[in-house]
């Protein structure tokens, strides 16, 4: 009876699993199958890399990857430089108006970026940032959510840690670099996963500020590719989608726990 229950659970989960896996499996299988075979339903009958060659021939794949990596890493690096000091001040230092700043931060988190896209788009048009990498990075550097998250974490760190540093006569920068950052590695790692994957997957904002390939990231390239190519060339389309998805899937399979913890932040980001 117990065994039957367990078996039923596995069976039901497998049923739902088909829904979860079907698009990923079909994409991977099609990416390595000639388009003619895909249309005939003979997936992987004659495995080939031709689809990827075709993609590399028609789009500036190197530029896409380089841009995606640069945007993801620069966003996170700048976010650290800007948000860690602010979160530290709001968690650990005393200054006039601290309550108000914390309250304002809570208010800013509630505003979805989509509401602000039109004005930021106009500003960037005005200063000539359309089709540049900074346009993809700058709006996300000062993240109210990141500051909020880090502040929560800094608040939970033991106060004695900071007292010791103060007694040692450590300056603010030294305290940040030698105590706060090493002690916050789990929080920084989660934020890193969250920020890097958000930047890597982003399509909403790129579709505002990008119109050509010069600063294009992979998701933008994918949409451009599937909308431009002949409708029947499914092989290359699936290869292009694979190129966008695969790096994250691999990263997820190798660091599941960190990934799940980082992406679970999605709900809090407003």
């Amino acid at each position: 009876m117990k065994l039957l229950g367990q078996l039923t659970r596995h069976l039901l989960l497998a049923l739902g699993g088909v829904y979860m896996l079907a698009p990923i499996v079909l994409m991977l299988a099609s990416a390595f199958t000639p388009t003619a075979d895909i249309l005939a339903g003979n997936y992987l009958a004659r495995p080939t890399l031709d689809n990827f060659v075709e993609v590399a021939r028609t789009v500036p794949l190197g530029t896409y990857y380089l841009n995606s990596v640069l945007v993801a890493l620069a966003t996170f690096a700048l976010q650290l430089v800007v948000c860690v000091p602010a979160a530290y001040a709001m968690a650990r230092l005393r200054y006039r108006g601290r309550t108000i700043t914390v309250w304002l931060l809570g208010l800013l988190i509630l505003i979805p970026f989509q509401v602000l896209a039109i004005p930021i788009y106009l500003i960037f048009r005005q200063v000539g940032l359309i089709n540049t990498l900074p346009a993809l990075i700058l709006p996300f550097v000062g993240s109210a959510f990141a500051i909020f998250l880090l502040r929560q974490f800094f608040l939970a760190l033991p106060g004695s840690m900071f007292d010791a540093a103060t007694l040692d006569g450590a300056g603010t920068v030294a305290t940040l670099l030698q105590i706060v950052i090493p002690a916050s590695r789990p929080a920084l790692l989660s934020l890193g996963v969250f920020t890097v994957t958000s930047a890597w997957n982003a399509y909403f904002w790129p579709s505002f500020v990008l119109s050509d390939d010069s600063a294009a990231t992979i998701p933008f390239g994918v949409v451009r590719f599937i909308n431009s190519d002949a409708v029947t060339a499914y092989g290359p389309q699936m290869a292009m989608a694979t190129l966008s998805v695969l790096p994250l899937l691999l990263a997820f399979l190798f660091a599941q726990r960190q990934f799940i913890r980082g992406l679970a932040l999605t709900g809090q980001a407003g």
């Binding site: 800007v82 048009r125 505002f208 994250l248 709900g267």
Partner: protein, 293 residues
Amino acid sequence: MSTLRSRLTPHLLLAPATICLVVFVAAPLVIVLVLAFFNLNLVTGTSSFVGLANFTTEIPHPEFARALRNTLLYAVFTIGPSMVGGLLVALLIHGLRRGQGFWRSLYFLPVATTLVAMSAVWRWMFRADTGVVDTVLGPLLGIHDWLSDPNLALAAITVVGNWHQIGLVAILYLAALGTLPQDQYDSAALDGAGGWNRFWHVTWPALGPTTIFVFIMTAGSALQAYDVIAAMTQGGPLGSTETLTFAIWNRGVHYFDIGRAAVLSLALLVLSVAVTAIQRTGYARRLESGGTR
């Protein structure tokens, strides 16, 4: 000197973040409000104050009602199924004696993918007649060519929206299930409470805070739905999948009608604030406190 420095330190630490938040959040918020009252011509660079004209053009317009309706429908058909599906998956996995990690990873896989790229895959799967959906589900459901049918295209979009977030909902519920106190189950079992009773009287109230959190999250992503629509339908056919967020792009970037795009942005802001306000209402507050009914 040193006291001056220590008094300045917090402000120096806050300065970069403050500048960023003013330039990219506070100022744009004010600008979007102002833009809603102006007619801005991006080609000539001229602008004129038009009072409430943008509001009186946009809000009674059938396209606005349609965008609201699509957004609401998308919300209803992603929030409900994702929450129920995610909770179900979590409960199934939680009761497993082996294989928990495997199923958790499998269901989380879609969350770790690039949504816009996977939407391109889904678009191909939903392709008329030759796509997987039509060849496999077509004979069963008796419907086909979802994406060209104004009555079915939004349904196809929600299939993808749910696909992408069920795993995330499941993970959040799983985490909550892992922290439930065992003694309440023991006493419920002593009282002879069956499976459903135990769920309804012990598990569901204890999951309250997570349920609220998941609702806010799924409602937020429903309001911000964009990637799936951009890659699969471009708002079509006949505007049947144009949601509020997609309409902002369409009016603002595609048609350069900044004034009306600003009005749509404000509508999105109002709805987003309304969703968070739900958190403060009766049933939500009771769930949040994890209390009894």
